[in-house]
Amino acid sequence: MRLWCSLLLLALTVPVAAAQDYHLQPRQIAADTWLLEGSRDNFDKTNGGNIVNTGFIVTDAGVVVIDTGPSRHYGQAMRQAIASVTSQPIVLVLLTHHHPDHVLGNQAFADVPIAALDGTQKLLAEQGNAMAENMYRLVGDWMRGTEVLLPTETVAAGERQVGNHRLRLLALSGHTGADLAILDERSGVLFAGDLVFYQRALTTPNSPGLEVWLKDLDTLQALPWKLIVPGHGPVASDAAPFAQMRDYLGWLDGLLRGSAAKGLDMNEVIRAPIAARFDGVNLSRYELIRSVSHLYPRYEQQALPLR
């Protein structure tokens, strides 16, 4: 009887545990540089929120982690993945911005300095709990035990030497108002955070405006990069992600401006045709619905003069 019970228990627990493995596979993309590439989908209960690119740089003075993923469980899995390729200790975590898929793994790095821009710290303090709550709704049990852990260190734009790697930190704002991009000057790898999405529709919940974002793209593209790591989507060694971002932002801006000038309401805009050249951009309809909610009121305000 006891044996049967144990077997039954085993049968019940094993599939759950198996289903909740992120299967993180670090992939080396440059000397000392590793990527954990997430899917291009939306958050759901099968991917556990692993829709994001995180990475790490193994310097001779320890490991620099870039973003911690969507959950405590992901953060723990990321630490194991790092330990599988290096015995170096982790010495620094850099957060590119405050969105939940990039920072909710922080708890797994509580013993390490977690650094972010001042604006990121403020936005996470303000919005973190609501975003975490929404993540529980979207991905469920994968989030178990996840809580917001705020950054412990503030960084600003400038150079930062970690062991044999000199990192150039850029304080930009187009995606969330506080966006950190990291250029590893030794390898030429540019961790662009969510200032660059590639083959996956960009998201706009905190964007100060698409024109600000376009300027940030100019700044990034002018850097001496060799490889771009977007926040979402595949890495690239050419400028294709920049071209796609500019094209998409320009199209979105034109659609919102044109719709407001025609007097359309939000439901008409979210059903507008999406240019065929963006067929390969995953989730463009879904993100258009979200972007209309975030951005259209500003375009409407320009089309509706004060009476």
Partner: protein, 248 residues
């Protein structure tokens, strides 16, 4: 003989009030709202009443809905809309006159995922019900006011931003009015919301009547459509008696 006539009459009545069809929504509240909103008049679920909403509420405090009953142009007496699972379900009651299209877009608050309904009463006394489902994280009805957190909002109270857009033979009238639309569900803030609106022509003749409820979002944005390209005005009043008027 008498009995036969009664039977015949009964048969005819039930034929005229043919089956309302299957509810397109997974609703647990339909019967309650049918009785409360539609009374004993016959109704049909009708996809010619186009009720549009986003599939999910990105912001539960500002969810756009649009009702288009132009398939029944000229026959519409009244359109009422509500969100079934809201603590304050009613959104608006709209009586378009002959020059006004039976079309209205507005933004609402939702407290949780909910079916939205728009019921169109046609002159033959039948309610035509359009439906939509909005997925939502919710909390829109009980979230603190965004307007009240902005400095100087009282000076801007009732400011109207409006424009007229030519849509073929019709004019699209769009208006935003600055108002917190307090629904009484946020601690310490009593109900304070726009409850009456009238679309008027240049001479002041009423073109359409609109009753608003505090399910309508803060800083309401309203779109209407009228025949022709003449100027029009929207008059609004809140439950404190403040009156506002904007010109298109």
């Amino acid at each position: 003989m008498w009995w036969n006539s009664v039977l015949l009459a009964l048969l005819l009545t039930s034929a005229a009030h043919a089956s309302p069809g299957k509810d397109p929504m997974p609703s647990v509240m339909w019967q309650f709202y049918q009785q409360k909103m539609l009374g004993d008049k016959p109704f049909v679920f009708d996809d010619k009443v186009v009720l549009q909403a986003p599939p999910f509420a990105e912001d539960s405090r500002q969810v756009p809905i649009q009702v288009d009953a132009r398939a029944y142009a000229g026959q519409v007496e009244k359109i009422i809309a509500w969100a079934e699972l809201n603590p304050i379900p009613r959104i608006f009651s709209f009586e378009p006159g002959p020059q006004v299209q039976p079309l209205l877009a507005i933004r609402i608050r939702v407290e949780q995922a909910t079916p939205i309904r728009a019921a169109v009463l046609t002159k033959d006394g039948v309610w035509h019900v359009g439906s939509a489902w909005v997925e939502a994280a919710g909390g829109g009805c009980t979230a603190p006011s965004v307007v009240r957190a902005q400095e100087g909002w009282e000076e801007r109270l009732g400011q109207i931003h409006a424009a007229r857009f030519i849509h073929g033979n019709d004019s699209r009238l769009r208006l935003r009015v600055d108002h917190p639309m307090d629904n009484g569900m946020v601690g310490g803030v009593p109900e304070f919301y726009l409850d009456q609106a009238q679309l008027r022509d240049e001479q002041g003749q009423v073109l359409a009547n609109i009753e608003l409820f505090p399910a309508v979002a803060e800083n309401p944005v309203i779109s209407l459509e009228v025949q022709g390209h003449d100027q029009a005005r929207l008059w609004l009043r809140d439950n404190s008696g403040n009156e506002f008027e904007g010109e298109f």
